[in-house]
């Protein structure tokens, strides 16, 4: 097991108790399992619906749900984007 910090961005921020949440996850967990663990920590159906449409990323790249969690201490949860 290890600790994983997840930074919330955009519309996800108000749904967490803090801008960064720390999850306790298995070493061989997938990104999809991180998503499920984060859903347990967010309050309300709106937050979980937004999380379902969100992506997870390292500082380097956006991750696929099916891939193993990279060897990082922190991930970012990114809701749908709208720059410009």
């Amino acid at each position: 097991m290890r600790d994983l910090d997840v930074r919330l961005f955009g519309a996800l921020r108000p749904h967490g108790p803090n801008p960064t949440l720390t999850l306790r996850v298995d070493d061989d967990v997938t990104v999809a399992a991180v998503r499920a663990a984060l859903a347990e920590r967010l309050a309300g159906d709106d937050a979980r619906a937004l999380l379902a449409a969100s992506a997870f990323a390292t500082d380097e790249r956006v991750l696929d749900d099916g891939e193993p969690l990279p060897d990082v201490r922190e991930l970012s949860a990114l809701p749908p984007v709208c720059g410009g």
């Binding site: 930074r7 961005f9 955009g10 519309a11 921020r13 449409a53 969100s54 992506a55 990323a57 390292t58 500082d59 380097e60 790249r61 956006v62 991750l63 696929d64 749900d65 891939e67 970012s76 990114l78 809701p79 749908p80 984007v81 709208c82 720059g83 410009g84």
Partner: protein
């Protein structure tokens, strides 16, 4: 090593079109095109006073660099590109993003600029929270990010 042809950044302060055009210049470049995105005072019938931009700065700069590399591969590796997005709360009329491209001829400059602006809307990790005259505020919907290949 940084690509001197590309400038990609997220900034807290006012954006500079002059800086963009100074970067997007070369003796062999006969064309420079620039796009400035500004905060609009109306959206979906609601009067807007300001927009707060949330940004993942590191991933945003990397995404901009990847997009610029794609543009150079497609429209010529002699292009110069500038992509800078604001972070923080902006009043109506302030520039939220400046994108510029220079090239030998206008066709490549126009095409690459359009590509970068459209890709930025879909891929840059940026979020907008609009603030309205009535004191309410709302995060805007957007595009779900797709995993990098």
């Amino acid at each position: 090593m940084a690509d001197v042809r590309v400038h990609a950044a997220v900034e807290e302060g006012a954006l500079s079109v002059d800086a963009a055009l100074a970067h997007c210049a070369a003796p062999e470049h006969g064309a420079a095109a620039v796009f400035v995105g500004r905060v609009r005072n109306l959206n979906d019938g609601r009067a807007v006073t300001a927009v707060s931009y949330d940004v993942h700065p590191v991933l945003c700069a990397r995404t901009f660099e990847a997009m610029a590399a794609e543009a150079l591969a497609r429209w010529g590796d002699d292009l110069r590109a500038w992509l800078v997005h604001r972070h923080g709360r902006l009043a109506v009329g302030e520039a939220s993003v400046v994108v510029a491209v220079s090239s030998g001829h206008r066709e490549a400059a126009f095409a690459a600029l359009r590509y970068l602006v459209e890709e930025m809307k879909k891929r840059a990790p940026v979020w907008k929270q609009e603030h309205y005259v009535d004191g309410d505020s709302a995060w805007l919907p957007g595009h779900t990010l797709v995993a990098d290949a």
